[in-house]
């Protein structure tokens, strides 16, 4: 079950990278980065999964005494929570710069921005 999630995450990373490298429109590049971001988070959470165990929340189903035998690893989940929120901040910044570029030049095709090329 975690093999499926890990393989899907890796395939999403590859497809996101392909979309980011071959598209010319800046908005499509940003959308492909978002797909690759989702793939990375999927791989991270799939590493912490253990077969036959349940979520790391202590309630009536998982009493406090045998918590260490019945829950999965909680550390990757804490890291991925942070990563998802920061991914949104980065996407918002990329979209702001795309809007500013459109205001300066009137086009969103990245091969028309040749100011830094020799």
């Amino acid at each position: 079950m975690d093999w499926i999630a890990m393989a899907t995450g890796f395939i999403l990373i590859l497809m996101g990278l392909y979309g980011a490298l071959t598209n010319r429109n800046i908005l499509r590049m940003i959308v492909s980065f978002t797909v690759a971001n989702t793939g990375v988070n999927l791989v991270l959470v799939a590493v912490g999964y253990m077969h036959g165990r349940t979520a790391p929340i202590l309630d009536q189903a998982v009493p406090v005494a045998d918590a260490a035998r019945r829950i999965i690893d909680p550390v990757p989940q804490a890291l991925v929570l942070t990563a998802i929120v920061i991914g949104l901040g980065i996407t918002a910044m990329m979209l702001t710069y795309a809007y500013k570029l459109y205001e300066e030049k009137g086009t969103l095709d990245i091969s028309k921005f040749r100011d830094l090329k020799w």
Binding site: T8, N23, L27, T34, I84, Y102
Partner: protein, 85 residues
């Protein structure tokens, strides 16, 4: 849930996610690509729940599938004219 039901559900979700990612990189209109990215995020949220991570599923559904799609469409509405490929 029993093991085979879990396995079948995760296989279906994986195929749907890869199909939606394929639509993202190979369709002509930018609006459809943005909607397909929101769909990838939604399926990933359900898959997080199957991987026994309810906190992460809630965060991905609220932020990845809600706010990101809205941000994309806000900016798309303001760059009319430059967004045709």
């Amino acid at each position: 849930m029993s093991h085979t039901v879990l396995l079948t559900l995760s296989l279906l979700l994986a195929v749907a996610m890869i199909g939606a990612a394929w639509i993202t990189i190979s369709v002509h209109r930018v609006a459809t690509a943005m909607l397909a990215a929101g769909l990838v995020s939604l399926f990933a949220s359900v898959m997080f729940l199957l991987l026994a991570a309810p906190d992460v599923a809630m965060t991905e559904a609220a932020i990845g599938s809600g706010l990101t799609t809205f941000l994309f469409f806000f900016v798309l509405g303001r760059v009319r004219g430059g967004s045709d490929d």
